[in-house]
Amino acid sequence: MLAPAPYAWCLLIGVCCSLMGCGAAQPGNNRDPLEGMNRRVFWFNTKVDDYVLEPVAKGWDTIAPDRVQKSLSNFFQNLRFPIVAGNNLLQGKFRRSASDVGRFMVNTTVGFLGFFDPASVWGLEQHNEDFGQTLGYWGVPPGPYLVLPFVGPSDPRDAVGLAADSFSIVYAYFIPFYYTFAATGTDIINNRALVLREVRQLKEASFDYYVAVRNAYTQRRAALVSDQNEKSKQEQEDLYQLEDAQ
């Protein structure tokens, strides 16, 4: 029954390690007090990506047509339905949650086990929800930026969210753990293949890749928590007010 948990445990261990590294961290950016340790883990993750994940994803990209990659991504996305619908429910977004249920039913049947996505065409859009966002929605602050080994950019709130969500991967309860492993691996490689160009571009465009990723992650999560709503007056002023209006 612990089948779905393996990567949740990896995660928890990761979080503990990270928090223990707390004392050793150098003072730095106020949103990133653990920068010293984070940079080292980030470096490690980048190497894993450079030498394992990206090459494998590239190989997959050359043999699998875009349509196959998209279908596979649809399939795994469809299986995440309990996470999306559940977290919408936990945030009191009942309409969205109901739409997620409808979406799952349509795509699982008409969409042939979720490989196709007719629901989007019928107005049942894909929502992006997870437990980290639910915590954020109810006012839990993200806490310090945290880079987790193998997992990547995170923070204590989202790490807890990820661990909690892993229990909602329903199929893992019904199949042997090595199938879950294989499925998770396939999902990760396929997703990596879908963003080959975007990641390369971000690397090329950035001057400090670590800072670029940290900032992008922070902004992206804040946008997801607020469901892409507009920025506050203060944020807008900080970002868009010219220093000295001539």
């Binding site: 950016n29 875009d66 349509r67 990659q69 998209k70 991504s73 894909q126 879908l194 160009r197 571009q201 090329e204 465009a205 950035s206 001057f207 400090d208 800072v211 670029a212 940290r214 900032n215 992008a216 902004q219 992206r220 804040a222 946008a223 997801l224 892409q228 507009e230 007056k233 807008q236 002023e237 970002l239 868009y240 007010q241 010219l242 220093e243 000295d244």
Partner: protein, 210 residues
């Protein structure tokens, strides 16, 4: 019978829309004839038309897209926002160099997308007035065989023209992202180093291209 049932909501919808327009017109200056939304839609359409033109070489397409984008982006404001309080520490000459090099950097890195264009289309999904008298136009890039991408453009009016001062991709603002990176480099190594770095990167990128 069913006709009548359908007319009612649509009529009230028109009334609400009209009221909203009037209210908007009363509380804030209405966008000029060539409003921000029209500017974004026209720019996107023009870019897509060039990208889809198979008679042009990659190089030609790149230049044409560059011309269209340059005409509608305000790189000086963009640069000033990216540098924030550091802008004042630059000499006028450094400021000019920075704007040019930063513009070149964006063009070199994002210009590569011209080669990989794969029938993506951009549609405007909404817009709203913002603080500082800016305007945000929300768009969605629709990609066959890939997820849609949400792209928001923030525009500011200069004279009579609305020009783009920031692009936010899936919630990530370009200005905020570059500002975070540049702040780190400036506080560590100074402004001169940043400009050198920009130059270096551009020279490398250009040589990689040809």
């Amino acid at each position: 019978m069913s006709r009548k049932r359908w007319q009612l909501p649509s009529r009230s919808l028109v009334a609400v829309a009209l009221a909203a327009c009037m209210w908007g017109g009363l509380t804030r200056p209405a966008p000029a004839a060539e409003g921000p939304t029209a500017v974004v839609q026209a720019t996107a359409d023009a870019v897509v038309a060039v990208l889809a033109d198979k008679n042009l070489s990659v190089e030609q397409r790149r230049h044409k897209v560059e011309d269209i984008v340059y005409a509608h982006f305000d790189f000086e404001t963009l640069s000033r926002l990216v540098l924030a309080r550091n802008w004042k520490d630059l000499s006028p000459e450094q400021q000019k160099t920075f704007v040019e090099e930063f513009k070149r950097h964006l063009s070199v890195t994002y210009g590569k997308n011209v080669e990989t264009y794969n029938n993506e289309k951009a549609v405007v999904t909404g817009d709203r007035a913002e603080a500082q008298n800016d305007w945000t136009v929300k768009t969605k890039v629709i990609r066959p065989n890939a997820d849609d991408i949400l792209m928001d453009y923030r525009l500011r009016k200069e004279g009579t023209d609305w020009r783009v001062i920031d692009v936010t991709i899936e919630g990530v603002s370009l200005v905020a992202n570059f500002r975070a990176q540049f702040q780190e480099i400036i506080s560590r190594d100074g402004v001169t180093k940043l400009i050198d770095l920009l130059r270096e990167k551009n020279a490398k990128g250009e040589s990689l291209k040809s």
